[in-house]
Assembly symmetry: D2
Homo-oligomer: 386 residues x 4
């Protein structure tokens, strides 16, 4: 799954690729089939493992066939029934509806994406905690509305980034959940099979547990907003690095600069550029999920459901790519205290005006204050770093 | 604050109006001034109450004067100093920066908006719990992709709406917080005044407590996303009501229909129309807040902060208007079981196909299954209704 | 109409204010009434001038009354009939529907907004043409991906801004049009009154001509996209000015800097900050208009029409404010060739690498090339400046 | 290029696929190389055809390598130089910058997409003109705000759809253009090679002409907005068809209904569902292009350029898929005049209230009026159908 037009996308590997989605769809059908067998609804011989009954070589055919019914589950079920043999064929997908299978498979892909994001955020948090701690005494010019404002330290700036990343991390805490409600989500199909509503809930719980998913679906916008919150946080960091990497400022630089097709001297802050790109793309994708949620009607909507799938995939891959790039960026970030000091010196005495007003002394107490901010952020970080 | 182009906006009253924002701004400056006095930093005589020193008659002047510095706090502080008399004038805004005052004032307005939303959601939840309970045995046609799918009950449909509203309610749980960080957020100003970082934190906490606000600011996107989640939930309900109000369907109707300027026979489902309108408007406003978050740079950004204020106001007023309309809509919703039964009868036998497959019996077990779903939603509702 | 939360909004004055919208609504009803009289449909005595029959003092009442029918035209027609006296009362709004009146009134407000924008763009174009011409020989460092790339001139940079502004100017060329289609847009009402379809078209044309509007409505997204194209163009300029105003770069500055509430030394590039703010806000507003267009259904949609009104107003006022600010910004822009030269000198020899590759000479031919670009832009500008 | 999560995407074939983008990139480099040879800048022996020097088998490698410099042109140029042999290798990409090649290649892909859209719109226009003409006398209920309003004909409804589609068609008229400006767009590189600015312009024109592209780039938002205008128009049609396909209404149906994974009786209006899906997805993608335009800075921006590529691709494929589906939908649309008549009869006498007011007669003059509207639309259509 190459993407020539989104450099860095290869970092996602097969995450949410068509092959991964297909594997997840088959996994959901398998888990349900096994639950039917274990609960004594389907005969033991129906308990075939469906994994491997459909694979990458079927993708083109399934994707094309998905159009006539509007979703890929319909042709997949036909394919699985064809290949499962008797008696399994009679029990595949029994009691489920397309939405059960697709939404649950997307939850599995999302879970994998969030796991990747979490791991990369831990790397970021570790790097940021180190930067905040090591540079708690590294003075630099604070800037507001592009102008020199008051002296700060690079440590307190890093602590601000860290707080943002931790806020985003918190917003990823939306348990991916299975959905096994049958046609129109009434549980009627599963209940008919299980003989009771209680039986239907037990079936659904068993299948969800096997897949490692929560039992109660949350609005898909909740995780969508969390993904956008991540790219927001990284976007801010990228903006600060891009600015500080400018030759006129030179206070920060990326570990490796990117080259140019025509200008041999260029060292571009490429990771930051690519992260900023994701931060521009993500908010409208999150808004699409909300617009879809707001356009729902009936027991399954006429387009508002269908638009979610690819939007979620794109948003998740954008976030995962940016998260990996942000981890690299922060782990390799070069800090140039000499340039920071030079900027600050040049900004004096103007930049000390506020402090002088309070203390009559430009070398005032900001250090203690920023230490308090840094320490609070480090304490939060410790909760994530364990 | 009339709005001819957003019918229903008058329901918000002064919420987030310019006058309310001004009062909040003055309130923040007052709370800070009192904190300075109480902590022995400013002399007791400086402890003037600023409330009333600036009011609606100053709005035009302040709004126009806000442009030259880019925010309304700068001219307001000048005005308050001018009117506060000595020695208060020397202490007004001491140690603060514009962003402290504006962000904290917006948090106060948001708190009021969320309080209104919560109260209206309680009305909605009560109405929905009643509908779900009363109609747990009212059969109707379930629809997917616009077509009759399987029989459901109106109770289980109402339970689905209820679950959505409760999910939205949960997302409003973002504590509005004060921000008292001084220039560039370093706490340096407050610390200089208080003599220590610890003193600065105590000052900030005292002022926040007086205003009834939390101490730790969250990203503004968190509450923004929560507001959009609300309009999403109401939008879905409105869509279902709009559809069911069509004369060809007639299964639901609003208590009062709206008239027409030219067609005397019309009874339009106006509340639903206006709610759906808000559901179309809100997602892009939420996306603007994310785009702003992602565009931050420096210790205070060059436009990305400024775009948040009016966006938040518009989003909050849209949500509050829609929330009040949704409360009215649901409290007065007319259910027509006869029409539901007629639709279902006309949809037979096709609509029973799935059940027949499972049970050989069209009057199958869906009732028990939907009861389980309804009961789960009612249990969640009880947590809100107390 | 003050707006404390959008500094600069007062520049719009009454443009699109509730009072202006009301006056436009009354103007549309008046024009129609006069057309009915002139075409011999209504008696001469019905030809009362409605202007002044409703005014600012009615706004609160009308705005509140607009909710029950979903739009402000319904209560306004009632009010006008009440106040018009006989026989005019019988003929007010005859043959029209609410959408005719509201959409036509919005077109009038848009026309005024576009006239303001055009005038401000002429100022911008004049300033940009001057900058491009005067600085065609002012060398500076060209930058790509934040890094020094090749030498350019400030003239060619200004020419790029100019091209962008001219592109945006072209996109404002969407003739605002009247809509007089009667209920459901079928022309049936007007045709019944006029005795024929041809008569109905003549009536509609007469009323449109009186209002100075085109006869064929275009999708509202066309002008919406044009407004966003304007803020895009100004946003880019603002970004460049913000960057160049940074003390470390200092190549450009605004005529008047903005102050701070706490830091006396600050000179903030406030106009650029506020323009950038508008450029962040506008794209999602344009997207709302598209989402509304895509959500249309029936002969008048159930919310997708209603969301357009306030969205258009906000977008138009944001654009007009930003346009006026951009005119001021460009007319007063301070260029600092010495700082540009210093940056360029510091960037050497790296920045000359590409030229050296081609010519073995760093003082290569870029001047002639950039002159060609500048001249092409100046020629386009001449078309606007006349 | 299968897309399991966007059913119907296979209709786009290789349009804008990675392979197509790569071929376009190579095509641009080839055209430039040939122009260099023809203008006597490069030696004749350098005029190798580059087509085939890089192909699908290189995609994974190129996509991964694109990250380090931030765009795929850098590794592609290296590859082409490696494979072109001497002396061509010395001249490949000479005088160009990555942005020239990528933007021009995207323009080529867009041109192909617009050609597809135009062809499908012609099919739509033909179908709509037929529907409008054949059904000019087919009465049905006009609906506003979901309620029966006045009688219309299906012909006039189809004419409204047609007008919308023609408006969208007009907005596709943005000539795709080449960009050959060299580093930072100054023409300096090409001018150095050609010996003059005039020579550089001639070189650029020659290469553009060979590729069949215009010479002056327009903002990418112009074509982006045009693509969204298309999905807006189709979205409205889909909404009307979805509504009219509901069993309770039954006035329209798709030629082939889609099936269900669990409900054998279902005939879902799948094409409309999938078109509506695209109409939900497109506006935020258009907004992303505007946000990118507004975020530009420097001679090439630090992320705002990079986000355009994949956004354009997705938007174009969404539009092309929906355009093909809309062509199928309209060509095969089934109209049910009997159901329309039945609805209208049931809506009487209320629905005739407005007409009765004007004529005392319910079978009033709407026919002539709607004919006038239909004829105007047919006349516009003739301009497209030739």
């Amino acid at each position: 799954m190459s993407d020539l037009l989104w450099p860095g996308d290869h970092r996602c590997g097969e995450l949410f690729s068509d092959a991964a989605v297909l594997a997840a769809l088959v996994g959901v059908e398998s888990a349900w089939l096994r639950a039917l067998v274990r609960h004594g609804i389907a005969p033991a011989e129906a308990g075939t493992d469906l994994a491997g009954r459909a694979g990458p070589e079927d993708l083109d055919r399934l994707a094309a066939a998905a159009e006539s019914g509007g979703n890929p589950v319909i042709p997949l079920v036909a394919l699985l029934r064809e290949r499962a043999g008797t008696p399994a064929a009679d029990w595949v997908h029994k009691g489920l509806t397309s939405q059960d299978v697709l939404d649950t498979a997307l939850a599995m892909c999302l879970r994998d994406a969030v796991a990747r994001l979490r791991a990369d955020i831990v790397v970021q948090v570790r790097a940021l905690a180190r930067l905040a701690g090591e540079h708690r005494g590294t003075p630099m010019a604070g800037r507001t509305l592009t102008q020199h404002a008051v002296p700060i330290t690079f440590g307190v700036k890093a602590a601000g980034w860290l707080d943002d990343v931790l806020d985003a991390y918190d917003r990823l805490d939306v348990p991916p959940a299975a959905r096994f409600g049958g046609a129109a989500g009434t549980l009627a199909g599963p209940a008919a099979l299980a003989g009771s509503a209680r039986g239907a809930l037990a079936l659904a719980a068993a299948a969800a547990d096997e897949l490692g998913l929560d039992h109660r679906p949350r609005p898909v916008t909740a995780i969508g907003d969390g993904l956008v919150a991540c790219t927001d946080a990284w976007g801010r960091i990228a903006n600060d690095v891009l600015l500080a990497s400018r030759p006129e400022i030179g206070e920060l630089s990326e570990e490796h600069g990117g080259g140019s097709s025509t200008m041999p001297q260029k060292r571009n802050p490429v990771l930051s550029v690519l992260i900023r790109r994701a931060a521009l793309a993500a908010p409208p994708l999150g808004a699409t999920l909300h617009a879809a949620a707001a356009a729902r009607v009936d027991e399954r909507p006429d387009g508002a459901w269908h638009v979610e799938w690819a939007t979620l995939r794109t948003l998740a891959r954008r976030a995962v790519t940016a998260g990996a790039q942000a981890a690299d960026l922060l782990a390799g970030l070069r800090v140039h205290p000499d340039r920071m000091a030079a900027t600050l010196a040049a900004a004096r005495p103007g930049i000390d005006a506020e402090q002088r007003e309070f203390t009559g002394d430009a070398d005032g107490p900001y250090r203690g204050a920023t230490d308090a901010i840094i320490d609070a952020a480090l304490q939060r970080a410790a909760g994530v770093l364990g």
